[in-house]
């Protein structure tokens, strides 16, 4: 094995204080980037959770709909038009809207997002049910909420009663892990109850979830739907997800803020690593001049510097990942948990390497200008 790694690692570990500064810089940077990107990913997933769990081949949405949470209403005629298309097997209405939840004890109201769909048709029903069933939503005033919002909604147990927009509601089913990316909890109800809560006229809905026959050609059916519907768009689930993400992540500025913080983390980390690598190189200038004097190529010296940067990257990344995993565990049940995917981990490792390599540029500039005659200076 070449001495490059030996020389690089011993140069690093020889000056432990500087190594600590370098590693702290990398750890700070990577943890900050992970938190921001982890929250970004989490946010990205959560804003589309309803779309992800709907059994839809297509979504019929009002024209210019920007996100799942915000839309105008479609007419009942549009549903009938969609049902008349060859290859369409079901058109399931979905009603969505914000409402006010009054706690059972009469305390302050809190906003909720009511999601209503037929309980008898596969379309968009609550999932991860831990108490009750989706069919229970068809009982009078029945609603389903997530247990993580019990406290916020003033609910202690299933079967408790509350009010939504001054109308009766009774918790008949409880889900687990259906979190909202805002502080507004989701409340599932039957289509009729949701319309009543939200004041949506009968036969109207915010969306129609379209399912096609197994033998139907999806592209042909979609084309027919587009041609027959006016003032509405026909989107695939992926398109609706993309539109919702773009709205929440970029149109609102939330995603840009997260990405901005991540970029700031990268910049700060790069500067810290660059500064410590540069000063380390300056301290070892005579040694690099000696290397040059005994005939080493510039390439050999560059590899020593880069190896120092990469060793720092590996050490820093290892510590940062340990901290990141702890943060993932701690925030697992939070409103906006930090998500760590294998792709994100690999990406972060690559980012750490690139960051440290870029940080080595200043040090490399110093050593490429080194004059071997320096070894004769006393």
């Amino acid at each position: 094995m070449s001495l490059i790694l030996t020389l690089a690692s011993r140069n690093l570990f020889h000056d432990r204080l500087r190594l600590v500064a370098t590693v702290v810089g990398i750890v700070f940077s990577i943890v900050l980037v992970t938190v921001q990107l982890g929250v970004f990913l989490s946010f990205e997933r959560m804003v589309t959770t309803m779309i992800d769990h709907a059994q839809a081949d297509f979504w019929i949405v009002p024209a210019e709909t920007r996100s799942f949470e915000e839309s105008s209403l479609l007419s009942g005629r549009q549903r009938l038009q969609a049902l008349s298309i060859d290859g369409v097997s079901a058109v399931v209405p979905v009603v969505v809207g914000y409402a006010s939840w009054r706690k059972p004890n009469g305390g302050a109201s809190t906003p909720v997002l009511v999601v209503g769909a037929p309980t008898t048709m596969a379309g968009l029903q609550p999932w991860n049910l831990v108490e009750g069933t989706a069919d229970d939503l068809s009982t009078p005033d029945g609603v389903a909420i997530d247990r993580s919002y019990f406290e916020q909604l003033g609910i202690a147990d299933i079967r408790e009663r509350a009010e939504i927009n001054n109308q009766k509601a009774r918790v008949v089913a409880v889900t687990s892990g259906i979190r909202s990316f805002t502080t507004t909890p989701h409340v599932f109800a039957s289509l009729a109850r949701a319309r009543a809560y939200l004041g949506v006229p009968p036969n109207r809905a915010n969306y129609y979830v379209v399912r096609i026959a197994p033998t139907a050609n999806a592209a042909v059916v979609r084309s027919r739907l587009i041609n027959s519907l006016s003032d509405a768009e026909v989107l695939t689930a992926d398109e609706f997800r993309h539109r919702t993400r773009v709205f929440w992540l970029f149109d609102t500025g939330a995603g840009a803020a997260l990405l901005g913080s991540a970029i700031l983390g990268i910049i700060v980390g790069t500067i810290i690593v660059a500064q410590t690598l540069y000063s380390s190189t300056k301290d070892h200038l005579k040694e690099f001049a000696t290397l040059r004097a005994i005939g080493s190529s510039r390439n050999y010296i560059l590899r020593v510097i880069l190896a120092q940067a990469l060793i720092s990257a590996v050490v820093g990344f290892s510590i940062a990942v340990s901290i990141d995993l702890s943060l993932v565990k701690i925030t697992r049940d939070a409103a906006l948990p930090i998500v760590m995917t294998p792709e994100l981990s690999i990406g972060l490792f690559a980012l750490t390497i690139v960051m440290c390599a870029i940080a080595a540029v200043a040090a490399i500039r110093v050593v490429t200008r080194i004059d071997p005659v320096l070894v004769f200076a006393q």
Binding site: I294, G295, R298
Partner: protein, 243 residues
């Protein structure tokens, strides 16, 4: 007949720019033969280190030509000169310039590592070079655990490990006491006997004159004397120099 390892012809070297420009070397011509230990002596500022730098391909002369084993170094780029150094030149510096984070064996091996030699082979050669300078037992010691004399012997081992054609030493005993200086010179004189290697030492130290086969004196950038002879001549020369 011994082979000429290095040949310098009409070397001129100007340092600095404008009014501060100094001609450090003025038409120096010399050749160094294998198996010979040559001392270069002269007062401070006479051009000793500049000549050493030019012969060692660290500086390109302003005029003239340096040939190492018959190969001209004129017009070579910095990278090409580095290649000449790693293949043909071994350096011994006054301040040793060992890497404090590497062991003695690793310091020696470094001269082969920069050439891309295979690690196993390099380890064996480094061990042999350390044995040559009598430091096999210190192979795993770091420089801070070695005396000045031992550090300089490690530096000598680093200079010879790659079978350099020329060993260039800059004041190798200046930082050592008499005993360690003698020990280092004994090693250098021994390795200088190899006919495949020329040894050239820049020094102020008259104590090492008895080790020389040839003594050059430089003044004001010119070689002013070139003496060869047996031990008696060298000792007389040393006495004269000392007085």
């Amino acid at each position: 007949m011994t082979e000429t390892m290095i040949e310098a012809t009409d070397i001129g070297m100007a340092l600095g720019e404008g009014p501060g420009r100094v001609n450090a070397l003025k038409g120096i011509t010399l050749s160094l033969a294998g198996g010979e230990l040559t001392l270069l002596m002269g007062p401070s500022g006479s051009g000793k280190t500049t000549l050493l730098s030019v012969l060692g391909c660290m500086l390109s002369p302003t005029s003239g030509n340096v040939r190492i084993r018959g190969r001209s170094t004129s017009g070579l780029s910095a990278e090409q000169l580095a290649q000449v150094r790693r293949e043909h030149v071994g350096f011994v510096f006054q301040s040793y310039h060992l890497f404090p984070t590497l062991t003695a064996a690793e310091n020696v091996r470094l001269a082969l590592d920069v050439r891309g030699d295979h690690a196993l082979e390099a380890r064996a050669k480094a061990g042999k070079a350390l044995a040559t300078v009598g430091l096999s037992h210190k192979a795993n010691a770091f420089p801070r655990a070695l005396s000045g004399g031992e550090q300089q012997r490690v530096a000598v081992a680093r200079a010879i490990v790659g079978d350099a054609s020329v060993i260039l030493a800059d004041e190798p005993t200046a930082a050592l006491d008499s005993e360690n200086g003698q020990a280092v010179m004994t090693v250098l004189a021994e390795i200088a006997k190899d006919p495949a290697r020329a040894t050239f030492i820049v020094t102020h130290d008259p104590r090492i004159m008895p080790f020389a086969d040839r003594i050059l004196r430089i003044e004001d950038g010119r070689i002013v004397s070139d003496q060869r002879g047996g031990a008696d001549v060298r000792i007389l020369h040393a006495l004269k120099y000392a007085s």
